[in-house]
Symmetry: C2
Subunit: 314 residues, 2 copies
Amino acid sequence: MARIISHTLLLAATASKALASCAYGTHLFPREEAADGTPVVKVNTFGYAGTIGPLNWVALDATANTACATGTRQSPIDMVDGVFQMVAASDLSIDIPDMAEGTEFENLGTTVEVIAKGGTMNVANTTYTLQQFHFHLPSEHLDNGTSMAMEMHMVWQSEAQEIAVIGVYIDVDPQSAAPAGNATVARRQLPEGVQGMGKTAALAVTPADSVLLETVFSSIDQIVEPGTFTETQPLVMSELVSLLNAGSFQSYSGSLTTPPCSEGVTWLVSTQHLMVQTATFQSVRDVIGFNSRYPQNTPGEPNLLQLATTAATA
Amino acid sequence: MARIISHTLLLAATASKALASCAYGTHLFPREEAADGTPVVKVNTFGYAGTIGPLNWVALDATANTACATGTRQSPIDMVDGVFQMVAASDLSIDIPDMAEGTEFENLGTTVEVIAKGGTMNVANTTYTLQQFHFHLPSEHLDNGTSMAMEMHMVWQSEAQEIAVIGVYIDVDPQSAAPAGNATVARRQLPEGVQGMGKTAALAVTPADSVLLETVFSSIDQIVEPGTFTETQPLVMSELVSLLNAGSFQSYSGSLTTPPCSEGVTWLVSTQHLMVQTATFQSVRDVIGFNSRYPQNTPGEPNLLQLATTAATA
């Protein structure tokens, strides 16, 4: 199914509550059918260093991105005691179907993103549908002061257009298997359920590694250039759901971590971590480079850029 | 030799060119003898998130830290073509003696730091002496857009009190050995030169790993608390010097990456990378957490905080 991924800045002018790459696939940024049936992946125009970096996002569009510089509930934050509430996984009833035929994996320039094909969860009696999941490197939230190797953001939307994001820290596996050819390589088959789904591959991973992430990232070398996409192998989501359900979630009300930094986003940061092989991490890093917004102020406190402005004009 | 590490904020008022942890051990922040002979490690009061984080450093001391918010040659930066000049390693004549009796390894709260015992290099006909080296996680400079696992900063000072810093990216070893007990563990002895120096230990590392860093970090669990210190095992510096001499340096004129963000710092970022075991990296991360200033604007361009202020008051 071919789709055009709507360009953030074009739509920002027409959406009353503008949302960027964090909200791709929501009704505000729907994927459209291309006239010739060819998917077109539009590349984001913001960045993570210099004048297109996080301190200057508001200057890229002073109207749409005003929350980036003035919002008082901005994300990411340092997840320390007192800024979040614990939510039991059982309260969310997370359900994500496997994707037997794989799905689209896109390079948006600012991140790499996997398009979801359904999935539901309930937050405070509201049902949310999974739209996509993408990656940040290093992690955007700090895990009680600690920077993690990566962070996965699973973006969900309710019928009333509310946004919830599940954040999952990704770490490198200290028991990473040696490269292929070495006798110590451990090979792990995809779970039984997915083996009949289509093409599968044995992965050189340990039992601690995420088969979902290793499978997704095994295609990263096909989307090295911003604006490109590929089809993943079959994706087993049940392993991820089981992992998330075995932990709980640190929840707070924050924002998108990308322009336009819209607030009212329900954050659910998992206490469970995902693990990838060191070599896998490095292959992803070769493509993403760096896409982490600096830690924001404690929710409810002044925006750090407003504090800086006050200090400068005092 | 017991020493008191001078407290940044106390000295900032008296030093005409105030320098913080990036310059500990220089004449501006000399280590003093404690009355009872006990070393006292003073903990820094700035931080990396919220109101004590990088966007607000100027507010911690508006006089001393003004360069943090207004300087136009601030560090770190994204090391892309055009912002640096290449310097041949042979031009620097780096010489660092081994430390046969080990040295002090301190936790300053904002970083962990190894006190040097000599070492010289020449930059533009000026001789610099190595004072200390400390660590940032993740890397502060971006390697052509890419965030690295860590960055080592080797701080040097000339007689005229000029500061030069060698930056070396540290990466995790994709061939990390499995934990002890596994048959695949590779054990590597310290280089011959240091084996007679004193207590030594076999390290479970691959040939790619830095014996210097593995040796230093093998003591990290002894300085978990800010303000504590320990003595390292004997340190072989020759391996590091050989590695640096086998590459070259990306040089630019920048600043300290910590308050007071003083400019006029000669940066020399090595093209050579150091490697540590994944488990070693994680043990260091458990102590450091996160201590990376956000990427600054291209040298010579306006300070990003001044751009943000302009945008906010436009």
